[in-house]
């Protein structure tokens, strides 16, 4: 492990108000890239320039995952690719960098991740509050882009939206703030659409609004020009003079007339014309896409913690615990409940474990020994359970076990075995961690109308 404090460099030409004199300063990006890699970079550039520099830095191998802070104003690119503003006291950089260093060391025994998916997860996990930021860019046909994914894709061509959807389904990423809702062309996927009102019958563009009048005397309704005679309004049907709006006549509707086919209609049809491919679509048939920021989900964090060692990760179950995504677990639980409701067998059980104070203890122990603790916990759990059992973690502290074909007795014996895990906690340095358990056996404990989600919520309440 190298020195205990990071090597910090500044990129920026002008003498700014920052008193960063003892640090290495580079005026030019190429100079910086030519020099041996630094651990932490500070960009002393105005927002747009900083954004550009960040883009180039994230593309270069040496600074792909590094902590890079922007000292001046931030534009959207800085938010998407940078680590925000540096701490006021530069000394505070050291612990941040140490955490980064510890986490980085976990991957493939210190080597940088190689696959796109793992690169993104690693980038997010290396910084405590990293997210995949959506950036509005009028140059792109879809209006939004994810600069981080573009930078980390390197040579692979990735459809960011599809990829993000996939990762969310796998439970590695979770949806963050909803930024926008787009409507895209179903042919070319472009968001550059022009909505035009057209004739409802012949779909011609050449339509005009035509005000109509309604004669109160005889009820006649016709376009305004039928009423106008020598500057007076005369009803063409009953020939009465229309003098005052509201008492003799009114304007009941504003209709359209098509100049092509002479059709007269109330509501014009609306078409979405794609400005990129020229196709015409009905607005309700357009593809609707929600643009969001994304962040690392619990499962993704866990996977990073394991350092992507078990690369059997194509399937949804990964890790030694057959850990499932929360949604998949809920669905599986729901299915079990449905089966039991219908056939009264086979019995199954659900066990909830809560490691109270786990997160704070891990933080106290530091990355390495913390992970050693988690690893030993997981090993004990693995010994205690069967291959057919399924796990999920709904939060850092909550672990759920689904035990198929297991009645109340089976559950009781499992609880006994797990109690020994709790004893392990008492002996080690993790005595702050308290293990709480709650059990559930179907069909006897099953409540009317309860589905998987409600059941988990009820049991989590008992663990609180």
């Amino acid at each position: 492990m190298p020195s205990s404090s990071p090597r910090v460099a500044i990129l920026g030409t002008a003498e700014s108000s920052l008193s960063l004199s003892p640090l290495d300063r580079f005026g030019d990006l190429s100079e910086l890239l030519a020099a041996p890699a630094y651990d932490v970079l500070l960009l002393d550039l105005p927002g747009p320039l900083a954004g550009q520099a960040l883009r180039s830095l994230r593309l270069s191998e040496s600074y792909r995952f590094s902590l890079i802070y922007c000292c001046r104003d931030q534009d959207a690119w800085c938010t998407a690719l940078g680590d925000g503003t540096p701490p006021v006291d530069l000394g505070a950089l050291t612990p941040l960098w140490r955490l980064w260093k510890e986490r980085f060391a976990l991957f493939n025994r210190g080597a940088a991740p190689e696959r796109f998916e793992t690169r993104v997860l690693a980038w997010l996990w290396l910084r405590s509050r990293g997210d995949i930021h959506a950036l509005r860019d009028p140059q792109v046909p879809q209006h939004y882009r994810y600069p981080l994914l573009e930078a980390l894709a390197i040579d692979e061509s990735v459809n960011a939206f599809v990829w993000l959807q996939l990762m969310t389904q796998q439970g590695l990423l979770e949806e963050g703030e909803l930024v926008d809702r787009l409507r895209l062309c179903i042919d070319c996927g472009s968001g550059r659409l022009n909505y035009v009102d057209v004739c409802a019958e012949c779909h011609s563009l050449d339509i005009a609004r035509q005000p109509s009048l309604h004669c109160f005397t005889c009820g006649h309704v016709a376009p305004q020009e039928h009423f106008l005679k020598d500057g007076l309004l005369l009803c063409p049907n009953c020939l009465s003079r229309l003098r005052h709006i509201g008492s003799d006549y009114d304007r009941p509707l504003e209709n359209y007339r098509c100049r092509g086919c002479q059709a007269f209609f109330v509501d014009a049809a609306v078409e979405a014309r794609c400005l990129d491919c020229g196709q015409v679509h009905e607005p309700e048939k357009l593809r609707v896409r929600e643009v969001r920021h994304f962040r690392l989900a619990e499962a993704g964090r866990l996977r990073c913690r394991q350092g992507f060692v078990s690369e059997t990760s194509h399937s949804e179950q990964f890790g030694r615990l057959n850990l499932l995504g929360a949604r998949t677990f809920r669905e599986m639980l729901g299915w079990q409940i449905q089966i039991v409701r219908r056939y009264r067998e086979p019995a199954f059980s659900l066990l909830g474990l809560r490691f109270v104070n786990l997160a704070s203890t891990l933080a106290k122990l530091g990355e390495l020994s913390g992970h050693a603790l988690v690893d030993s916990l997981v090993e004990r759990l693995q010994e205690a359970v069967r291959e057919t059992d399924r796990f999920t973690r709904s939060s850092e502290e909550h672990l759920w076990l689904l035990l198929p074909n297991t009645g109340a007795e089976g559950l009781a014996s499992l609880r006994q075995r797990l109690a020994r895990v709790a004893e392990l906690l008492k002996t080690s340095e993790a005595r702050d961690i308290e293990l709480r358990m709650v059990g559930f056996s179907a069909p006897q404990d099953l409540l009317e109308q309860e589905d998987g989600e409600l059941l988990l919520a009820r049991l989590a309440g008992e663990l609180a």
């Binding site: 500057g231 003079r241 003098r243 005052h244 709006i245 509201g246 304007r251």
Partner: protein, 442 residues
């Protein structure tokens, strides 16, 4: 000589006899009526002339389409302002119309201000209409609103309109065509009562607007003798209006302005036509009390204007002989003197005469007035009314109309006394006290 003396003695003997007093009243009865008849004849002849002229007129398309600015004085009308604005948008006039609603005391009259602000002008539907609202935060009175609007107006023709008055859609074209004649500085428009069937009081006023105002203005207008361009509805040539300095403070600014325009009649052959086809619909006071207070103001203002403010300008040199005589007869005699004669005559008759004579006298006077009313009503229905079906319903009120007129004459005397003795014009609600205090005293 001796014969005359004997005759006089005989008359005195008659008068001192048992029926003497009755005879005196009977003999006095026709005298003041005789004054009224010629005026009515003059009006009816004018109406006839107008009717004949209108029917022989060849329809012509005028290319004279000046820009028209409508100053709409708003105070506490609320949402009614939107009705006014919409009716101006709806004008069939092909030229530009600039609508300038001036909200007086906008800080206090938030609902009216909001109504003006919320009014959305549909430029697709009304391409030649512009809305330029003015909010006068501090209340300054009607005159200040009108002058503020005039300062911002860009049209060649300026109309002074009330916020609670809406207009028929041919109003602007009907008014504007008179201004093609360069000798026309102003045109008077006609008002109808919008809420005619809200109460008995408004119904009678609806008939009064038609018979006493609409008809008489048509008649007088034919002879260029229009007495007043109504403040709720009048049109002016902006250059002329600016030349004479706009509206003057005090109450009854409309009559004041009319008199000041008329002061040029002696020098130039100017004309103030009345346009019966330009019709505005306004709300009349719905309760008797509101109505009487309004008339107390109107009739008191007549006295204030003719006697106090403009007595010096009523000379044939300024007004020209026809208008001078007309002002003398209709302004002074009918509106200032006759009410007192009628009031004192009625009171004297009431106290001095025996019941049977009083009844006979009453029936006679009533019959005479009813005849005149009926004649006017029929003439109005046949020759003038553009909404005969609607006006037919007002026939129900013809029998009580003479009584109403008698009441109004008596009330007019009260109003005059209120002005003469109490300077009632200083209590007007048309401007705040701090403005009235500074105005020149007359």
């Amino acid at each position: 000589m001796i014969g005359f003396f004997e005759q006089a003695q005989a008359l005195l003997v008659d008068l001192s006899g048992p029926d003497g007093l009755s005879q005196l009243f009977m003999s006095l009865f026709p005298f003041f009526l005789l004054f009224e008849l010629p005026l009515n004849v003059l009006v009816l002849l004018g109406v006839l002339r107008w009717f004949a002229r209108r029917h022989s007129r060849t329809p012509q398309h005028s290319l004279y389409q000046p820009r028209v600015s409508c100053i709409i004085t708003c105070y506490s009308e609320g949402l009614d302002v939107q009705k006014t604005l919409l009716s101006l948008c709806e004008q069939t006039y092909p030229g530009h119309i600039e609508m300038i609603p001036v909200v007086d005391g906008a800080t206090a009259n938030q609902t009216t201000l909001r109504a003006v602000r919320d009014f959305r002008l549909n430029t697709d539907l009304y391409p030649r209409r512009q809305l330029r609202p003015i909010a006068k935060w501090q209340r300054g009175g009607r005159v200040s609103s009108l002058n503020a609007g005039l300062a911002h107006a860009t049209g060649e023709i300026v109309m002074a309109l009330d916020g609670d008055t809406s207009f028929d859609n041919n109003m602007v074209s009907a008014m504007v065509r008179h201004f093609a004649d360069p000798e026309v500085p102003a045109v008077a428009g006609s008002l109808r009562v919008r809420n005619a069937w809200a109460s008995l009081s408004t119904a009678v006023q609806a008939l009064e607007y038609l018979l006493s105002i609409h008809m008489s203005k048509i008649g007088l207008g034919e002879w260029n003798l229009v007495n007043n361009v109504s403040g709720a509805f009048g049109a002016f040539r902006r250059s002329f209006l600016e030349r004479i300095g706009g509206w003057d403070t005090h109450t009854a600014e409309d009559l004041d302005l009319t008199l000041r325009i008329k002061s040029y009649f002696g020098r130039r052959p100017l004309r103030i036509p009345f346009e019966p086809e330009a019709i505005g619909h306004t709300d009349a006071p719905a309760t008797l009390r509101q109505f009487l207070l309004q008339r107390l103001r109107w009739d008191g203002d007549l006295f204030f204007l003719y006697i106090r403010k403009h007595s010096h300008s009523i000379t044939p040199r300024l007004l020209g002989w026809p208008n001078f005589l007309m002002t003398l007869v209709s302004g002074f005699f009918f509106q200032l003197v006759l009410p007192f004669i009628i009031l004192s005559y009625s009171l004297a008759a009431l106290f001095l005469l025996p019941g049977s004579t009083l009844l006979l006298l009453f029936v006679l006077v009533y019959t005479l007035y009813l005849t005149i009313t009926l004649l006017f009503y029929l003439a109005m229905l046949v020759m003038v009314s553009e909404r005969p079906r609607q006006d037919l319903r007002l026939a129900l009120l013809v029998p009580i109309f003479p009584l109403f007129m008698l009441m109004m004459r008596c009330w007019s005397a009260v109003a005059m006394l209120n002005e003469a003795l109490r300077r009632g014009h200083e209590e007007t609600s048309m401007a705040p006290w701090w403005v009235l205090k500074k105005a020149t005293k007359f």
